[in-house]
């Protein structure tokens, strides 16, 4: 094996070791190494992210806030804020902390925005702030914006946070219920198996007993086999039923592959209301005029009692015209063509409309 190959494997073995637990690590403050003190634990403080061992933290910060012991760093640190390191790279550790802090404040949800575009703009803004905080760009201005937002939207932030908490709890509960159900199912299956075994044994014993009692050997074995077969068939039927039940469960979405997806109901856009319900009253062969120079119409219009009673002469003129022109919609050619198409017994039914009426009634009833 070449040296190069050996070198390649080393980072992998290193990653397997818990973060911060590397054998060769040395505390930058007291210089004690893990080799000498196996219980060595390193802590960091999110003020400056300088690493030091637990005993140094105890020693320096037990009596209250003190300056960071690393040369050149003048940050004042408190013991309470020291914690174990999560990531090997301290830059990553710091970035994650900042992101967490920002996410706790900028916790708006997509459904709060009118359009996806707005939501994306918001996300972009948040990312800008985060980026500035991480890379220390324009830090004062960014901090000011951050605090301003926090102060302005205090209530909303709280609400969203509690909403998230509730969702988490609900999710956890759902998970737990699912696990319980699965366990129950497993128990049931196990029990069934045991019963099956017991039954088989009993059957065997029964056959033996009957043979011992001196019954016909062939008949007894055959019967025993039949009993076993029948029981097995019953069980198979039950299993099939169970399977179908589970399938229908799955179809209802109770155990699909991806969980926690929002159930999307596709609301069909409703057509605008048509007050007339599709009814169109139109005149094909004539258009009604507002006035007609006929004595009957004029006298009606002039009559006080007619007017006061609400009699509208236009209703009359429209109707008269409609009556006069109604015959024009009927074409003998069309009518006889349809007569042939429907196949009317001409002797039985007088008109095509009557026939159609009869058919419609039959269809409706």
């Amino acid at each position: 094996m070449s040296r190069l190959a050996q070198h390649k494997t080393s980072p992998i073995t290193k990653r397997e070791v818990r973060i911060g637990d590397a054998q060769d690590e040395v505390c930058p403050v007291c210089k004690s190494s893990r080799y000498l003190t196996p219980s060595l634990r390193f802590l960091i403080n999110p003020e400056c992210y300088h690493k030091m061992c637990e005993s140094c933290v105890d020693r320096i910060f037990s009596h209250g806030p003190a300056q960071c012991p690393i040369p050149g760093c003048r940050k004042t640190l408190r013991k309470a804020r020291f914690r174990a390191q999560r990531f090997e790279d301290l830059q990553v550790e710091r970035e994650v902390d900042i992101r967490r802090r920002v996410a706790a404040v900028f916790n708006r949800r997509e459904e709060e925005f009118e359009t996806l575009h707005d939501y994306n703009n918001y996300l972009n803004e948040v990312e800008d702030i985060t980026f500035n905080l991480i890379n220390q760009i324009d830090i004062e201005e960014t901090n000011r914006r951050f605090e301003e937002y926090e102060k302005m939207h205090e209530q909303e932030i709280l609400e969203n946070a509690s909403l998230e908490e509730r969702e988490k709890v609900a999710f956890r509960d759902a998970k737990k219920a699912e696990r319980d159900l699965a366990k129950e199912r497993r128990d049931l299956a196990r029990k069934e198996e045991e019963e099956e075994k017991k039954e088989a044994e009993e059957n065997k014993r029964d056959v033996l007993n009957r043979l011992a009692a001196g019954q016909d050997a062939e008949k007894v074995t055959k019967q025993g086999q039949q009993v076993t077969l029948k029981k097995r068939m019953d069980r198979q039927a039950a299993a099939e039923r169970q399977r179908l039940l589970h399938l229908s469960d799955a179809r209802n979405g109770s155990s699909s592959l991806i969980r926690g997806l929002k159930a999307k109901v596709k609301a069909e856009p409703e057509a605008p209301i048509d007050p007339f319900g599709g009814l169109k009253v139109e005149t094909k062969y004539f258009s009604v005029q507002d006035d007609y120079v006929w004595a009957g119409v004029q006298e009606t219009k002039a009559d006080v009692l007619m007017g006061a009673g609400g009699y509208d002469v236009r209703e009359f003129t429209t109707r008269a015209l409609c009556d006069a022109f109604s015959g024009l919609g009927v074409f003998i050619g069309e009518d006889s063509a349809e007569r042939e198409r429907i196949g009317v017994d001409e002797k039985a039914v007088g008109t095509i409309t009557a026939e159609r009426g009869v058919k419609r009634m039959e269809a409706a009833s």
Binding site: G277, L279, E299, G307, G310, Y311, D312, E315
Partner: protein, 400 residues
């Protein structure tokens, strides 16, 4: 057209003469018509009659009995059969006006919000049977009155009113006046839609100078021009009734519940709730026969007054209601204008049929409604029904 003015329907023609036999049960075969003709008519009649199997009786009244029935060919297809009893009019003219009107108009009108008449046949005892659509969910009146169990929203009201107005507009577009629109003539179908029923008082639009009766429409839903004995009127009478139904749906009480229900009290009530009709707001009203010069004039009620009572349907709804209940029929909206009003397209959107409350009483209510004769005030609304108008018992026990 020569008409008996009070009854509106001309006792026209031969087709009905056939039914004009005595109530002694003598069959049409004894009529002077050629026997093969009578046979054919009877055959067709029997053929139609044998298509249905009569079931339970749903209701029974002075005027008609209503039965549930189904088709012989398909027992799942239910219908209602309204069996009209032979009355005094039938003896004189061969058929009663109510049933004649009902058959005449229903067989012509085919609309989703109007009850369907499938067939007509007669039985041996000269009873007329109308085969109607079965509407098992009761009527709108029961829904309105059942305040403890049923709640509905303004969207439901809009949906019902829209169906009613479509039916009314359809009638008017076909030159038919219904003249008896009221909540218990609005039956509820199994899908939740409402259907206009009881065309017993309907008539077609009149020609100029052809007189019509003013003694029509159930009194609480009767428009003011009919109280002033107008003999020439048009579709606006139905719009007034629709307006009363609208107001009743919102307030869950009859808009003009005059008690005792006579014309004078009704006019007083209308004056009180809408305003006194004068020459200013209704030109020509003082010339009308039944007009009484008022002693005190109530000015027309302003919109705020209406808003206080009918706020539930919003400002556009109140605007529409006011325009449907205008005193002057010329200014009152026509059915078409009502449908063009912005109310229907404004928020909220009318409820879908499947979301509407149904339980308007069930089959028995349909039986009750169909057996009744036009113009009667339903029982349970405070009125004693038709019986107490026909004869009054004198209570001697109360005298000392």
């Amino acid at each position: 057209m020569a008409t008996s003015p009070a009854l509106d329907v001309p006792p026209e023609g031969p087709p009905f003469k056939r039914l004009k036999t005595g109530s002694n049960g003598v069959s049409t075969a004894s009529s002077p018509a050629p026997s093969h003709m009578a046979d054919l008519a009877e055959q067709v009649d029997a053929q139609e009659r044998q298509k249905y199997i009569k079931g339970r009786k749903l209701g029974s009244g002075q005027y008609a009995d209503v039965y549930s029935a189904h088709l012989v060919s398909d027992p799942t297809q239910l219908v209602a059969i309204k069996k009209i009893k032979v009355g005094a009019e039938a003896k004189e003219f061969g058929i009663s006006y109510d049933s004649l009107r009902e058959i005449k108009f229903l067989q012509e009108l085919d609309h989703p919000n109007i009850i369907k008449l499938y067939a007509v046949f007669s039985t041996k005892s000269q009873n007329l049977n109308l085969v109607l659509e079965q509407l098992p969910q009761g009527d709108l009146l029961k829904l309105i009155q059942d305040t403890s169990n049923i709640t509905y929203t303004p969207a439901d009201i809009k949906s019902w009113m829209l169906m009613l107005m479509r039916a009314t507009h359809f009638c008017h577009a076909n030159y038919v006046l219904h003249r008896d629109i009221k909540p218990n003539n609005l039956l509820i179908a199994s899908d939740g839609s409402i259907k206009l029923a009881d065309f017993g008082l309907a008539r077609s639009f009149a020609d100029p100078f052809q007189k019509m009766t003013y003694n029509t429409v159930t009194i609480w839903y009767r428009p003011p021009e009919l109280f002033f004995q107008a003999q020439y009127y048009g579709g606006k009478v139905d719009v007034w009734s629709c307006g009363c139904v609208f107001a009743e749906l919102v307030a869950r009480d009859v808009m003009f519940r005059a008690w005792p229900e006579n014309e004078i009290n009704m006019v007083k009530m209308i004056c009180d709730k809408i305003g006194t009709p004068t020459e200013d707001n209704w030109p020509g009203v003082s010339k009308m026969k039944g007009y009484v010069t008022p002693t005190e004039v109530v000015p027309l009620r302003p919109k705020e007054h209406w808003m206080a009572q009918f706020r539930a349907v919003g400002e556009t709804g109140v605007d529409l209601l006011m325009k449907m209940l205008l005193l002057d029929p010329r200014k009152r909206l026509s059915a078409e204008e009502v449908l063009k009003h912005p109310f229907w397209t404004a928020e909220p959107r009318p409820s879908r049929l499947e979301d509407l409350p149904r339980k308007g009483g069930g089959m028995e209510v349909m039986g009750e409604d169909l057996k009744r004769r036009g113009g009667e005030i339903p029982n349970g609304g405070g009125a004693g029904g038709r019986g107490d108008k026909v004869a009054r018992k004198i209570d001697f026990g109360a005298m000392k």
